[in-house]
Amino acid sequence: MKKPSHSPFWFLGDRILIFVFAVFDVVLIYFAHQHFQTLKTLTSDPAFLKPAVAEKMNIEEMKKLAEQKSWDVLENVRASKAYSYLESNTRPSPNAALYFYPETLPDNSFEREFALKELQSALSDLKKHARAKELSRAELAYQQLESRIRNYEIGGASENIKISAEAVTYLAIYRHLIQ
């Protein structure tokens, strides 16, 4: 006959441990299930992701807004993201900064001049004509924007005609907006 221990559940023996862990697992699964939606929302927030992934998501979000023709919303979203970069003292990748957040380019960047002078002026023309519903002029302004980007990135004597992924998305955004 087994000698009784001091534990009130001595008759359960080692089975007590299995019982405790089983209860713990059930409780854990219950709470995880309860908060699954909250967790899902949290983990999809760009703030919780790696900077590169977050940046890509932000750009995709802008593209979706462009598909919905929300020019003003798009501009507000873009400006708020640029502001958050500046506020948190972080920088997007060079390509994203050039096309989407020119405000974040450092003062000593040679690209700043191109982004703020050449791209912005072409974009203002595009915006002006698109809002006035002058489609042929908007199309010309788009071609001007595209020409500046392509010449800037790859030059006029190159066989290679590929431009950066960000430039492609940027042009796609404004193509959607004038259609």
Partner: protein
Amino acid sequence: MRFSLPALIISGLSLGISVSTGCKEPDKTVPLIYSVKVPKSRKLNAELEQLEQSHRLQSADRRAIEQELSFIQRGLGVPEGLLWCLIYTKSQLDHTKNMNSTSATKGLGQLNEIALAEFNHDRDFYDPRTSTFFKRHLRLGDSLVNFSINDLPTLAAESPATLDSENTREPSSTALSGQEPQNITLNRVQNTELNADSYFRIPVGVVTTASYLNNRYLQLRSALDHLGIAYDPVILWFFAAAAYEGGTRSVFTVLTHELISRGEKNLSHILSDMETAKTFLTQKENLEYPISTLSGPDSPRGLASESESSKKIQSITRTMENIMSCLLPEAKVL
């Protein structure tokens, strides 16, 4: 003896000036880039002679090109010597190069459709004189520069070399690259047979190429002035030629890298000293890292593949080597 004292004073002053400027030998590149009397090297002269003797380059075409260059230097300030070397490097003065081939780059300056779009959609953005120059000199008005070849059904039959894009491609300048001459396009298409707005027409080809180079120069100059970085306006033309070949962004990226890693003084030195600029633009090591940051394998959202980045670096350094060796005497070639 009456003249000895003033002569002594003048000599003394000249000596003083020489000492204060570090007795620097005058840079021979400055007049060279503004002179059409190129090429200086014997090898290049021999190649030109060979091209003309074999009728692969017509003297009349060469004269027409050089006449245009001179006109452009006076009108737009683009150095004719540098432009001559750029055009020679790209096409060996063959205004019909790649006319019938599927190659993306064509004509004297081996420009692509993207470059022509700059003149067709954005002519005066960089230099407000461009439209006027196109109108007055080429009588083009608002016509769009294009790669049209008019109705030239006999072209392929007359010049089979034009169909062979591989043979007419790089290296363009054989004497400069040290390789055996290859087949080039036969210049049997008369300039007058081409459309007035065709890039293959010599005046249009030269003016468009010059304007494209001029635009790159003004783009670089504007950024340097904005940042307050000192540079030599003559040496900046070589950086403009690099931007012509590989895009202004490549040059901006390389300059930004120099500015951040070695400081403004070093960058100014590169942009002001001929020998340093020459070394800088012709050695791959100087361009590799900065350009790879835009397209390297570590960049998840890179521009393009690593091989495309290497190709770009190679094309810039090769073009710059050819231009430098065309402009500078053989003894000084790196």
